[in-house]
């Protein structure tokens, strides 16, 4: 049955996609393009493009897209459910363990090691986004693609708004989008 196939396929994607975002792309491609042929490579690339342009994780977006394409709305629901079920189970176990044992000194030690790593990962994500936004992805050692000054200006004002005036992050994002619409199109 198609629903079981879709469910199982996205269950595996959900179970093995550690590290999120782009780390899970090869896995998704393997399941839906190579193994089952539900999407062509071109369509898969389109899903990635749309994922970058819309809110929501790539895995969930592909689940919705593939599910709709192959088996209608019910297919999309089944695919999405399959995709998040492994996380649900694993997370509820980890979360229970966390709240039960977080008082233990060993767990305290482990959490102390994790906290700086989380900060580092968020920093890394922010800087990667800056690179992409400013056109600073390097071609070779000295040449950059083309530096996007308008984005740098938007970024600077956004940062000032957030730090100095404690503006709401959503407001900053919407405003940046509006300015981008005026400047870039």
């Amino acid at each position: 049955m198609i629903y079981i196939k879709i469910f199982w396929s996205f269950f595996q994607i959900g179970l093995f996609s550690f590290g999120g975002g782009y780390a899970s792309m090869p896995l998704i491609q393997n399941q839906i393009v190579d193994l089952h042929g539900w999407l062509s490579m071109k369509e898969f690339a389109d899903v990635i493009t749309v994922s970058q342009m819309t809110p929501g994780p790539i895995a969930i977006n592909s689940a919705t897209f593939v599910g709709l394409r192959v088996a209608g709305v019910l297919g999309a629901v089944v695919a999405t459910a399959g995709c998040i079920l492994p996380s649900c189970i694993i997370i509820m176990i980890l979360s229970t363990l966390y709240y039960r044992y977080r008082g233990l000194s060993m767990i305290q030690g482990i959490l102390k090691g994790l906290r700086p790593a989380v900060i580092a990962l968020v920093l890394s994500a922010g800087l990667s986004l800056c690179q992409a936004s400013f056109g600073l992805e390097r071609q070779d050692l000295l040449r950059f693609h083309s530096i996007d000054y308008a984005s740098i200006v938007i970024f600077t004002f956004a940062l000032i708004g957030l730090r100095r005036y404690k503006a709401n992050p959503i407001f900053i994002m919407l405003l940046s989008g509006l300015v981008g619409m005026l400047v870039f199109s």
Partner: protein, 191 residues
């Protein structure tokens, strides 16, 4: 009962709203979560938020979904997590359903592209700003290990592009070893 329903509604809409704005990868939920769940409603505290993000990172699946499950589960058990899961997946679900029908005109639209380009710069600022907040918070109890792990994890992720799951495991291991050594030192002194 009434109070409960009201709480679930607040939980649902807060999560829905956060999900609606998770552009540019899952990490943008960190500042949004902090603003709503920590600063506004005081449902969780700063340290707990960072721990929950670490747990979400250590588990498979998208970060935004994992964090939603964790927060829902923490606040209202299984029912809470069902509420937050629905609130997280509904926005991309509807948006993608609509876009899949108007796909080609959507990706070619210059206004949408301009808006996204501007938003990308804004999101970068939002994410870096929360890093500053997190670094400022709880400075007193930090030691050298904190900064070593911070720098090492950053280099591993940004420069060497090592999978996040390995970085998390490495950091947990470092923290565990560190604690073990401290314990041995302490019991050594007692003898």
């Amino acid at each position: 009962m009434r109070e409960n329903l009201k709480f679930y509604a607040t939980l649902f809409w807060s999560t829905f709203y956060i999900s609606l704005f998770t552009f540019g990868g899952g990490y943008v939920i960190v500042p949004l979560l902090r603003k709503r769940f920590v600063d506004r409603y005081h449902w969780i505290d700063e340290e707990e938020m960072i721990d929950l993000i670490a747990i979400a990172q250590a588990s498979p699946g998208p970060l935004a979904v994992n964090v939603a499950i964790l927060v829902g589960y923490r606040l209202k058990g299984v029912v809470g997590s069902i509420v937050t899961i629905l609130a997280t997946i509904l926005p991309p679900f509807f948006i993608l359903s609509i876009i899949s029908t108007i796909y080609s005109s959507f990706i070619k639209n210059t206004y949408i592209n301009g808006m996204l380009k501007g938003m990308q710069a804004g999101v970068a600022a939002v994410i870096l700003s929360v890093v500053l907040d997190m670094v400022k918070e709880g400075k007193e109890e930090r030691n050298n290990t904190f900064y070593i792990v911070l720098v090492a994890a950053f280099l591993a992720s940004f420069l060497f592009q090592i999978n996040v799951a390995f970085i998390i495991i490495g950091a947990a291991f470092t923290g565990g070893i560190n604690e073990y050594q401290k314990k041995r030192k302490r019991s050594g002194k007692r003898l």
